[in-house]
Symmetry: C2
Subunit: 395 residues, 2 copies
């Protein structure tokens, strides 16, 4: 329990994709677009009409359309992986340090596509376009709420596939992503092996293990306790902000690590002179920072979408196979990046995934991400591995 330096709460906000980059003079300016499907039929056979998801791209698609890389976002993320929508944006997309001209994912070479998933969390972000419980059901003219069909990671992938094909792209140079973005990438490579040449899966495993299944249940718990959730029927009323704030607090904490807590906050009090031992309401700085960051985040998120994302993560198994069998369908050259301090996808499971891929003859390489941020190392801490990613993509 060494140094007690107090830093900003930036890292708390770092699950909140738009806030964790740093600004460069040469920011790419990117345009958010909308991809629409008249209807989409889920893996479970339910039809959703008028599906829309947002997307953006960096770089230029070459003549034979062979240089496209798809980047998939994490649980609380959006399509905004790099660049800025306007020069005045406070920060660029979450992987801006990896994606751009001359960077590891070099937009002078590659055409990088990123899309919002179905049931994207950030319904209050004016740039996000998604279809989910908060969307209007064309058949009723009212929000779906919990009547929206359950969707899977495979459904996210199928909508992305339709987007990619709408651009005339038949093959992806690579599919990649961190955390839930890694799950989508595994599913892409397993279900559409002919389209995926390379797979980069960061801080993710080939299956949602029971530990993850239970933890994301816990993430959702405060929403279900909040009476304003009201069985999901809160549109046009007060949303369950308190429950959603607490849910996001759990996510923020579990995606981080005790080394971060120690270095960023120590046992500092939230307010000078307000000893946490003197009154129940007096808090420690780490408590106040998590509360404030999560409340800000909840204000632009949707509780039902959170619940649908939880379900999609719980039911994930690559290619819908049991016991990692779906990994056998993967043909792509694979790079797996993981971090020993990960509390969401512990390295034990990542190693099981690596072994399963190897045993089915897939070309797999892997590397450890070093850092003090636990799971978040895979979002904000890949600087040292940028050359490795660049080399892998060039192979």
């Amino acid at each position: 329990m060494p140094s007690r330096s107090l830093k900003t709460i930036t890292l708390v906000a770092c699950l909140f994709s738009a806030l964790c980059g740093v600004t460069h003079a040469d920011d790419m300016i990117v345009e958010k677009k909308t991809f629409e499907m008249p209807s989409y039929t889920t893996q479970s056979g339910k039809t959703i009409k008028q599906v829309k998801v947002g997307w953006e791209a960096y770089g230029t698609l070459n003549a034979d359309k062979s240089n496209a890389i798809l980047v998939n976002h994490f649980f609380s993320g959006t399509s905004h992986a790099a660049g800025k929508y306007a020069a005045s944006d406070k920060a660029p997309g979450y992987w801006d340090y990896l994606i751009g001209p001359g960077k590891a994912i070099d937009t002078n070479k590659y055409y990088v596509i990123a899309s919002d998933t179905l049931v994207n969390l950030n319904t209050g972000d004016p740039r996000v376009v998604t279809t989910g419980p908060a969307s209007i059901n064309p058949d009723t003219g009212k929000p779906y709420a919990m009547s929206f069909p359950l969707v899977t990671i495979g459904d996210f992938v199928n909508v992305q596939k339709a987007l990619v094909e709408s651009l005339g792209i038949k093959k992806l140079h690579a599919v990649m992503g961190a955390s839930m973005g890694g799950l989508q990438s595994y599913d892409w490579a397993a279900n559409h092996p002919e389209m995926v040449e390379r797979l980069v899966a960061v801080i993710s495993a080939g299956e949602a293990d029971p530990w993850l299944i239970a933890w994301v249940n816990v993430w959702a718990a405060p929403i279900l306790v909040d009476p304003k959730w009201n069985g999901g029927d809160y549109y046009g009323k007060e949303p369950p902000l308190q429950g959603l704030t607490q849910a996001l607090k759990i996510v923020s904490l579990q995606a981080n690590h005790w080394l971060w807590a120690e270095k960023s906050f120590g046992r500092a009090w939230a307010e000078e002179g307000k000893d946490p031992n003197a009154a129940y309401g007096n808090k420690y700085k780490i408590e106040a920072a998590l509360e404030a960051g999560s409340a800000a985040r909840a204000a632009v998120s949707d509780a039902n979408h959170f619940l649908y994302l939880v379900k999609a993560n719980q039911t994930f198994a690559t290619g819908n196979g049991a016991n990692l069998d779906g990994l056998k369908k993967i043909k792509a050259k694979t790079l797996i990046l993981y971090t020993p301090t990960d509390q969401v996808f512990p390295q034990d499971w990542v190693k099981s995934t690596i072994e399963a891929l190897k045993s089915s003859g897939t070309s797999v390489e892997s590397a450890e991400i070093i850092g003090n941020l636990g799971h978040l190392n895979g979002v904000v801490g890949l600087q040292a591995l940028a050359p490795r990613i660049g080399e892998f993509l060039a192979k």
Copy 2:
């Protein structure tokens, strides 16, 4: 992600002290007693009238009263460390495999005392005696609720000290405990060094680190979201059972480990034929087991007591010193047992505690607890270390 064997949910219930032992033909029958103080003044200077705590003892106090060992309980525990209250009890106390005639903590040699803490969680357990928010304030004739003074781990210790002194005991052969029981033991040894000859601290550290501070905040979160909590004013009304159930679910999960989740549940469904992907309400077995175990537990627990325990854990620093300085006051020979898979008191902090003790010249030995249960290894998995504990106590 190897074998998928399905076991019972016993281990979910294992935070629930009365359920995790095994039955022996030669069970000790123990009697629960009550210790009363006309008033107690907290470390913060608040006076509480008519303080009562329950206690029990195993073995016989020797003539010179030199053979007493105090065992302190964990967050959700009670004084019931060993034996049974009646031969028909389903299970003995939580450390019955360690405490008894001829066992590691040998009741043929030692007089082992265990007491309920202040603000004990288990107010609905008819054997538990405690004083806290659910108690009647003698000045008003109504439950204190959140007007009960905040209490510290040091206050728990001071009440235990009064109990021990009431028995004419001037020195303790050892003070020991797991988790919050370990915190109490550190505080005993630091604040009353002349009374503590040996210290055995299991799955605990010398300070609540910011990671723990934040996590126990998360544990409490669902209670605060539940409108039935009502600012703590729910006595005589419906208690916030839903919030408390979710709070206990988080505790159960964090006190365990992914190896347990994997081996006990795998990805099995809660109900045959009810695919979790087919309906929002269909769950996995691990979700259903945690929910059922936690709901049963919530029915005999008190939400305000939970919140007070959270606060007491957050504010803990051995001997109220900063940066582990309080450890310098410890004179007792010390044995520290920890587990590498601990998610509540990660081994990094335990090792910091060991280093701090060593650097102040304390005689410290330590050992790793091996097992698949994370933090709970220190409650139910000490069999292999029983001889080590016995030897340490005999030194």
